[in-house]
């Protein structure tokens, strides 16, 4: 048995999988974006190939935190699935086309061979007759990422290289549909059932007040920035160090929004306590205690805010308390 595998491997080194083998492999999978790993990449890429290959080298692991990878992956899968919907049995009298996706954690060797230092990459491997060792490394064509609709740009590139026409079938997400239906149904039902309470909540000043304040706190602390730029929540370095604040006025992390809106919120609440609550305490000594504690807290929080703002590094000179010595 072992010898057989060894034999297969030796053969595999010089001859790639045949078109029919690949076709049956693809037909058996539900997702037509087949995964390319350290185990199978030699057999697919090495040696003679009588098919086109498009491979996405990517990673979805949170440590690498690649935003573009997460955008590209599903889009390429849609293209791959659409292609096989049009050509379930391949193309009769021309080369077939297969789509692959390689995850960094499962194929470190492959990534090393291509000497990648950034991802995602999309490579195109044309059909070849060469049987040279690792011929695929030199035969690859790299895709350039540009701004715009990725699906459109990729399809244009693919058809330029292969000469095939691509149609897109964007699938209806059935689970999403079901969830929406269930949500809609239950909410209508609850609305009907607890009409009185719902109206009371909707009429209540407190509901709207809380909602407005939360929205204001989120918007003024860069929530929309995170949404639009897709900024990472936190940056974890390899040695376990964590970065909470990015320097620079034009950038921020997801967690910064949370920290800063918390600071603003606490400061606002303390101020309101000073205005609304403290004057109602008639005992002088307790009043004094409360007022001094709250004033102290405001001072500390405000100093923290200034220190955090100083971390963003603009040469900002003002601090109340120096938490960190520079």
């Amino acid at each position: 048995m072992k010898i057989l595998i060894l034999l297969l491997q030796i053969i595999g080194l010089s001859i790639a999988l045949s078109n029919n083998q690949l076709k049956s492999l693809v037909q058996s999978k539900s997702s037509k974006l087949i995964s390319l790993t350290d185990e199978n990449f030699e057999s697919i890429l090495q040696g003679k190939r009588d098919y086109h290959i498009i491979a996405l080298l990517t990673s979805s692991s949170p440590q690498i935190n690649c935003v573009l990878c997460k955008e590209i992956g599903p889009e390429l899968e849609i293209i791959a699935n659409s292609w096989f919907k049009d050509h379930p049995n391949g193309i009769e009298d021309d080369f077939d086309l297969y789509f692959f996706k390689s995850e960094f954690l499962e194929s470190r060797k492959l990534f090393g061979l291509f000497q990648l230092n950034n991802i995602p990459k999309i490579f195109y491997f044309p059909p070849t007759n060469s049987t040279a060792n690792r011929n695929y490394v030199s035969e690859k064509v790299e895709y350039q990422f540009y701004q715009g609709d990725h699906k459109d740009l990729m399809i244009r590139w693919f058809s330029e290289l292969t000469g095939y026409k691509f149609n897109l079938y964007i699938p209806v997400d059935k689970t999403k549909l079901a969830i929406h239906a269930i949500l809609g149904f239950t909410s209508v039902f609850l609305l009907k059932r607890y009409k009185k309470y719902v109206f009371n909540v909707l009429k209540s000043k407190n509901t709207w007040g809380t909602l407005s304040l939360i929205l204001i706190l989120l918007f003024t602390t860069g929530y929309m920035f995170n949404q639009i730029r897709g900024s990472p929540y936190i940056i974890e370095h390899q040695d376990g160090r964590r970065e909470f604040f990015l320097p620079g006025q034009q950038t921020q992390l997801g967690i910064e929004t949370q920290i800063i809106s918390f600071v603003y919120g606490i400061l606002s609440i303390l101020l309101i306590v000073l205005i609304k609550r403290a004057p109602t305490i008639k005992t002088d000594s307790i009043n004094l205690l409360l007022v001094s504690i709250i004033s102290g807290l405001i001072f500390v929080m405000f100093s923290t805010l200034l220190a955090l703002f100083g971390l963003k590094g603009l040469g900002f000179p003002y601090r109340f308390i120096r938490f960190i010595k520079f």
């Binding site: 000043k205 304040l213 929205l215 918007f219 003024t220 920035f225």
Partner: protein
Amino acid sequence: MSNVNQLTIYGVDIQLIRTLLKIIIFISIAGAAISSRLFSVIRFEAIIHEFDPWFNFRATKYLVTHSYYEFLNWFDDRTWYPLGRVTGGTLYPGLMVTSGAIWHILKNYFKLPVDIRNICVLLAPAFSGLTAIFTYFLTKEMKDSSAGLLAAIFMGIAPGYISRSVAGSYDNEAIAITLLMATFYFWIKSMKIGSVFYATITALCYFYMVSAWGGYVFITNLIPLHVFVLLLMGRYNPKLYTAYTTWYALGTLASMQIPFVGFLPIRSNDHMAALGVFGLLQLVAFGDYVKSKVPNKQFKSFLIVSVVFVFGSGIAALFGLTAMGWIAPWTGRFYSLWDTNYAKIHIPIIASVSEHQPTAWPAFFFDTSMLIWLFPAGIYLCFQDLKDEHVFVIIYSVLCSYFAGVMVRLMLTLTPVICVSGAIALSKLFDVYLNIKDAFHGDNISISKVISKLTVLLSFGFYLFYFVLHCTWVTSNAYSSPSVVLASRNPDGSQNLIDDYREAYYWLRMNTPEDAKVMAWWDYGYQIGGMADRTTLVDNNTWNNTHIATVGKAMASPENVSYEILKKHDVDYVLVIFGGLLGYSGDDINKFLWMVRIAEGIWPDEIKERDFFTDRGEYKMDKDASETMKNSLMYKLCYWRFSELFGGRDGVDRVRNQQIPINAVPELNVVEEAFTSENWIVRIYKVKDLDNVGRDLYDATKFENKKSGKRNRIVKRPKIDLRE
């Protein structure tokens, strides 16, 4: 409180003292607001800043030298050559008319002939004083005059507003924020007392605002939204009806008198909310009338039927009219506010502008300092009272927080409401702790009460002091640079001014024929028009994308292709901005990809963005630069003879940190160097005429080079003996 009126101090009525004090405070606030905006005038000189202000300045000069009707009918043949621009019909004239009027008044009534440039430079600071006063009145409507005074001083020195109104930043926003505050104040006033008079003034302010800034759409939607929310809250009353209908009818009619706006108020969807609420208000008023006449039960069924009917027909009408093309779809900028990816995909020109980027949290704190955390507290206090006018502040704050988060430039509209609401919170605090009456129990003074009051007052007094420091620091460091003149520091700390732009524009003005056509990227169009007074192909009014793409193609193509374009457009000079020597990052090479992209949008077969990258997908200028890049006109114009500066070694591009090889000097055949500024920031080339013996320009240049023995490397010395 009748006994208050009788109180006197040294025989002077206390009300009089109060008024006097208020006037003094106003004058000091206006003084603080104006003087903190003068940093750039003191450091540099009274000069117009940035890009757009140069156009406004040029238009104002046209207005004061011609009649008003000539101004409205102005067809400008010195921009967008050869198309020209219908300038009078495509600008908001409010700003120019304002400074023109001030100029005429000073000249004719006060006999003070002031240079129009000085009026333009100082207009924004002067109006900021007015803004502070209107903010006072607006906040006074929300709480009382002490909150108003706080709001006025906040508004006067908050960097969020200063950023757009320093001396020299002669832009529409300079007067628009004043008008925004005025319109809102009069709206609140008229809505509160149901006065037709105040509603008319609101409409007048609104008209002024429409004539001054495209952002008037914000008012057009905010006031109807306010009314709509009040209706939902069941707060309909005849005062609201009077105020809104008067404002809407007059304001809309008035706004249609601006040529650039025209029939937009009844055709564009941006304005439909105002119309819808106008209709709704009629129905509600009618319903109110019916309700007072018929029994309750019949009214209920009447209500349900009519609401369903009106809602259905309204939606149908909106869709129907849009489908038939009677009302325009929403504008692109409006889309990009709601669907944040819209601009990125569909409108590269909007996406390429840095003002349209989302805002990260430091910008909010940078622009408003501690007001940003007083802001939610103020909104909370508004919710506690929740009168009609407080609803306005709440809607304004939530909406504008969102807008400011999506687009940096809209910080400007958020700042006023932050000031108002911060002032409300702070003055509530001072109301409680400045009231020293409750520290006295009969004749005894409660020590602990006094201490607790002092703690709060002193600490907040300190924060206010810090606030002033913060605002001054931000204004002085971030918002006081004219960007036409660049400042840097020498190693010994002394200031070094880099004045290349004006040097080059002045050269153009003095050394080229008056009708010379200058081609440059659109960013510099207004400045060339304003400072050099030469005809440009494209400018910052980006109304014709194809024409911009033509310029982009000329820059991105090889010389022979470019030459054809240059000749077809009668171009005499080509101007490029190059920061490689000095390390000035806002130069044309860094903007070059946008030129390529915009050109590719029109000629996808001839210009391909991919060709400008190296094989590994890098944007490089050194020896690895792609052939297309090396052959492009832009590359040649920027690096022509650049490496000669480095005495036989490779040139170093300090912006991109790349080596420009000495042995691959770009060759120029169709243009020749005419001028390069001191720090090489501006380089101007003259387009060669067709050869006088009919040769190809390539051959002619080769022949010239051969004749002079060497390639055109060394500087030609003037032949003195020939001149004698």
